[in-house]
């Protein structure tokens, strides 16, 4: 859509104003990491995060455990509504890429009404990465360390402020609402943004190359071709079936409904993990994926085969969260590297 420029002080003043009118989620620096958390209106201006936060947008838009309502006299209203408009700052390219998967998975056909509501009332402000984590591999799965579409607003730091790009009617409306603070983006500033982007992308690619990760372009064919590889079982040996990879993943969206209460019957929607033994088990006890390695393989199959085929985008955004979270140190980059070696 359109591009603008906003000076740093103006942006900070705007964020302060926002934190009074909407629920604000912003990155908070913690060591080398950022935590994406609710920011109160008395907190200092949030830092400009150099790369993605520990938490993905999933936890904000699609609650880990959510009461979807009661039935048979259990009170119908879903709750808690957690109401009001929200603004999320600090989303990165990989976060935005994940939204395409979540929007399809939870929003297509008959949408999950609670996800749809959260999505509708949340303004997503993303920004370019200025650096990357060791585990980052967005460029291997078709991503870039800066968002190109799918955000409401995107910020790119340049000398003295930010180039702001609008990516949706909501983003446009936002700029229109505070139009005094924004100026048109000059060609020089746009050029500076593009140069910074190109420089970081090159640096990230070099990082992949040094680590020997060159599998990106063939990932889909890879998983289809190597279905019978022994690598799956070897890697799965270190899996303890904790589901952390699913829970930290920005695109994993599988959930399980569970029923509670003896008089007031309530139903909860809970994040689920396809690594759990019972995930695909049917009433009679049979399961299509009784072995752990089959479930590990299934996760790759969903990300690299199902998502491209059905949604048209990669189910893996290369954020590296699963690499950091796995206590068995199963590293998706390594798994893919090993698989690509076995024809």
């Amino acid at each position: 859509m359109a591009t603008y420029f906003i000076p740093t002080e103006e942006w900070e003043a705007l964020v302060r104003a926002l934190s009074r009118s909407a629920r604000l989620y912003a990155p908070r620096a913690e060591g080398e990491d950022y935590r994406l958390e609710p920011a109160g209106d008395d907190s200092p201006p949030p830092p400009f995060s150099r790369y993605r936060a520990v938490q993905s947008l999933k936890a904000i838009l699609f609650e880990p455990r959510f009461d979807v309502g009661g039935y048979l006299g259990g009170g119908d209203a879903a709750g808690p509504a957690g109401g009001g408009e929200a603004v999320v700052l600090g989303a990165k390219g990989c976060n935005i890429a994940a939204l395409a998967v979540l929007d399809f998975a939870l929003g297509a056909d008959v949408p999950d009404p609670f996800y749809a509501r959260n999505r509708e009332r949340t303004l997503i402000v993303s920004s370019d990465c200025l650096d990357f984590k060791e585990v980052c591999f967005c460029t291997l799965v078709g991503g870039r360390p800066y968002p190109e579409r799918g955000f409401d607003l995107n910020l790119s730091p340049v000398e003295g402020g930010f180039v702001v790009e609008t990516g949706s009617p909501n983003g446009e409306a936002f700029v229109a609402r505070f139009k005094d603070r924004f100026a048109p983006a000059s060609p020089a500033r746009l050029a500076a943004r593009d140069a910074a982007r190109a420089e970081l992308t090159a640096r990230l690619r070099e990082h992949q190359r040094r680590l020997g990760y060159l599998w990106g372009a063939v990932s889909r064919e890879l998983v289809e071709r190597v279905f019978e590889s022994p690598v799956w079982a070897e890697e799965a040996e270190r899996c303890v079936e904790c589901g952390a990879c699913n829970f930290v993943c920005p695109t994993c969206h599988c959930f399980l409904l569970s029923d509670h209460g003896r008089e007031r019957f309530r139903r909860l929607r809970n994040w689920d993990s396809c690594q759990y033994k019972g995930f695909a088990r049917v009433g009679g006890g049979g399961s299509p994926r009784p072995a752990l390695f089959e479930r590990l393989r299934n996760r790759y199959d969903k990300k690299f085969v199902f998502c491209p085929a059905v949604i048209g985008v990669s189910g893996c955004t290369g954020c590296g969260r699963c690499v950091e979270a796995c206590i068995g140190r199963i590293d998706m980059r390594e798994v893919m590297k090993r698989l690509s070696g076995c024809k």
Binding site: A78, V110, C254, L257, D259, F265, G283
Partner: protein, 271 residues
């Protein structure tokens, strides 16, 4: 907000013992739950949870629902303990149902195994409703033992009135059984249904589905004419929770009845 996660209430009116482990439940929903034959419902046992079932009643009967349920897990166990007057919930219908329009003017070979006759009963009742639309309808049903045959009296009636050509076989007979003994795959030939211009509909335990499909292909049914009821773990029922994924389809949304053509290249279809 229209909340697709919550069931409507229903009262159990009648419980029918079909076999030692199978019961049918006649439900009176608080509001009508219209469905197309082959679509399924999520049945809630309050406070316990949900399980998916395809109604066994005709799609033309709208004031009550009949579900036939085998006792296999937590939800079905709790359901089997329920009595007339008890309250349950139903959510749905979900899925696409049998493509009846595509069946018109053709022969329909219905192949069932065990409790798999439940959804097929709904189909057969619906087909019988205007049987003249189809060239010929035949049922080939296999059960483990004579005691495992469900809807026995009704199936007998169907056989007598001749609108459907019925044949039954059991894996193992008992003292009184005078009928056929053998797997259902042994009675799929010579049904008077021309496989080149007919459809086959299969529902039963996975192994039976697998071998019945291979037999039907053998006889000459094209993969696109073989309609399979896929059983997968399900939670949401409308393509959100991811539990029922099979290759690139969600069985709840795209099925639960899928042609062999559609699934044949996926792995895990018979598990």
């Amino acid at each position: 907000m229209n909340n697709p996660y919550l069931p409507v209430g229903a009262t159990i009116r009648e419980v029918v013992e079909e076999s030692p482990t199978i019961r049918s439940f006649v439900l009176l929903p608080d509001e009508p739950v219209p469905f197309l034959t082959g679509q399924f419902l999520a049945l809630t046992v309050p406070g316990v949870g949900e399980a998916p079932f395809t109604p066994s009643s005709s799609q033309y009967v709208t004031d009550r629902l009949e579900l036939t349920v085998m006792r296999v897990g937590t939800v079905t166990e709790a359901l089997h303990a329920m009595r007339p007057g008890d309250r349950v919930g139903v959510r749905g219908p979900f899925g696409t149902g049998y493509p009846l329009d595509a069946f018109r003017g053709r022969g329909v070979l219905v192949v069932g195994g065990g409790v798999g006759l439940a959804p097929l009963r709904s189909l057969l009742l619906t087909l019988r409703h205007d049987i003249e639309r189809y060239r010929k309808v035949a049922l080939r049903y296999g059960a483990r033992t004579p005691a495992d045959i469900i809807y026995r009296r009704e199936v007998e009636e169907w056989r007598r009135d001749g609108r459907i050509d019925v044949a039954i076989t059991v894996d193992r007979g008992d003292g009184e059984w005078t009928g056929r003994v053998g797997l259902v795959t042994t009675i799929l030939q010579d049904t008077g249904i021309d496989p080149r211009d007919s459809v086959a509909v299969v529902c039963g335990p996975p192994v039976m589905m697998k071998f019945a499909t291979f037999k039907l292909l053998d006889i000459g049914f094209p993969p696109a004419a073989i309609h399979l009821s896929m059983e997968k773990n399900m939670s949401c029922g409308f393509g959100k929770c991811g539990h029922c994924r099979l290759g690139t389809v969600y069985v709840c949304r795209d099925g639960p009845v899928l042609t062999y053509e559609r699934v044949k290249d996926f792995r895990e279809i018979w598990e």
